[in-house]
Each structure stands twice: as structure tokens, then as C-alpha cells.
Subunit: 156 residues, 2 copies
């Protein structure tokens, strides 16, 4: 059973994670960006890939364009169609998508089960993300702390 | 205007990104994991932090526990309450959260606007994620390709 979840606006939240999720926190949006990063450009291509209803896809594409994550460009074949390509802001979501793929790969497949993953354009080998400190030092998962948006210390 | 989006099951999708989003692709779930990584453990703490209705929070916490992302442990103060802590599988979502924070920090705040971000437990400085190839080589954003789940080549 899936409850319909009330959507609270978080676009002025002090937490950068919350503010990001406010924009791309439904999975249609991230899957559209995934498909754009895989080279899809046309409405019909996204629709076939995602199996999404036209009205849902239209709303999502408009929102992603309004947010500057996708932009519309003239069709590459010279036809009258418009196509969607990722902007710099959209391409900057690649680490989120790679991190999701890494997590899915690690925990959500049976051994040997076929899977698709974000890959390096050159080697076609799977990509991963490494958490780093501001100085470039690698940081372990157990060293990640998310500061409290409200500035309160946890109860501990 | 926010349409109610039809939720399609993707838990058997061949794409690791899609399968991951099927589990943690609504933002309540990732914000709960964010809060657990910040040290929150109790139902009331999550409720105050998220401003979520009790029934929504209950459903989400149960789902995250059933998925093995959180686990219930006896209260740290010896009381009869149960507390929630992240498992290894939950902590492995840290790169997703750090990547979201990095993106939000880069694109969703005005210069000088107050913000909270994932930080290094030691230095308390902001963290970032770096995309790497399987051999540890840093990979630029423009080298990220998501393979087509259906094996089809993009139209281009």
C-alpha cells in the first residue's frame, strides 16, 4: 500500500539536501535526467523509455526546463521538432545518479542478475562516487555527518 | 500545481538507478536517512525535524526498516522506547545525500545565503563527491553515460 504523501515545499529550506530534493525528489525527474544523460532527446523517446503517461511526462519536462535542468533545442535532424538536452545544471546531477546506481548495484540485485549502470564514456566500465573532503582527501562513509538544519544538536 | 503522479513499480527494473529510486525515490525517505545520519534516533525527533504527519512518518520508517536501511534498537537511555539507527545499507546512501547536498549548494542558494550541508565529522567542512572509474581515476561530468536499460542505442 502506498499512501499519497503530502508534499511540503522545501524550496526555502536551509538544508541543501532538502532544497535539492524539493526540485528533483520525485523519481520521474531523475529518470528523465538519467535518460537525457543516456542520449535521449525527444518526447517520444522519453515516453517509450519511461512508460510514462503523456500528461505526466509533459509536466515533468516543463518543470525540469523551468528549473534550468533541461533546455529545449532545435531538432538535430533539422525537423520542426524540439529536443531536450541537459544543461550544465542538469549534468551536475550526474553524481546523484551515479551514487544511486552504485547503491542499487550494491544492494538491490541478486548475484549474476543482469543490470545496467552509469558507465565511463571511454571504457564503458561502471562508475562509482567517492566522498571527499574539501581538500580532496577521501572520506569514509562513517565520517559523513549531516548538520542539523535547525542548528540543534542531536539527542545522542 | 502538483499533479499526483502515478507510481510505477521499478523493483525488477534492470537499471540500478531505477531500482534504487523505487526504494528511496520519495523525498521523505532520503530526509529520514539524512536525519538519521545527523544523529536523530527517535520517532519524535524525526517528526519535529521533518514536520511530517505521524501516519506518514510511521509508514516511511516501517518501509525503511523493512528494506534494511534502518534498524530498530533499544533506546540508548535504557528506557522502553525503540530507536532507529542506519544500517550498513543505509549508511551506503551517504554518497547520494552528499551528492544532493553538493548540487543544492551549487545551484539552489543565493550567494551568502545561510545553508546546511553534509560535512566531514572531523573537520566539520563540507563534503563533496567525485565520480571515479573502476580503477580509481577521476572522471569528468561530461564522461558520464548511463547505459540504456533496454539495450537500445539513443537516437543520435
Amino acid at each position: 500500500m502506498e499512501l499519497t504523501l503530502k508534499r511540503t515545499r522545501m524550496d526555502d529550506d536551509v538544508c541543501a539536501v532538502a532544497r535539492a530534493l524539493d526540485i528533483i525528489g520525485d523519481w520521474w525527474s531523475l529518470l528523465i535526467v538519467r535518460d537525457a544523460l543516456s542520449g535521449l532527446r525527444r518526447f517520444g523517446e522519453f515516453q517509450r523509455s519511461l512508460g510514462a503517461a503523456k500528461n505526466i511526462l509533459t509536466v515533468r519536462l516543463k518543470a525540469l526546463t523551468a528549473q534550468g535542468i533541461l533546455e529545449q533545442v532545435p531538432a538535430s535532424d533539422g525537423s520542426a521538432y524540439l529536443e531536450y538536452v541537459v544543461t550544465e545544471k542538469g549534468r551536475a546531477l550526474a553524481p546523484v545518479i551515479v551514487a544511486l546506481g552504485q547503491w542499487g548495484d550494491s544492494f538491490l540485485f541478486e548475484p549474476g542478475e543482469a543490470r545496467s549502470l552509469p558507465v565511463d564514456a571511454q571504457s564503458r566500465r561502471p562508475l562509482k562516487v567517492q566522498i571527499q573532503a574539501a581538500d580532496g582527501r577521501d572520506v569514509g562513509l562513517d565520517q559523513v555527518v549531516v548538520t542539523r538544519p535547525d542548528g540543534l544538536a542531536p539527542a545522542a
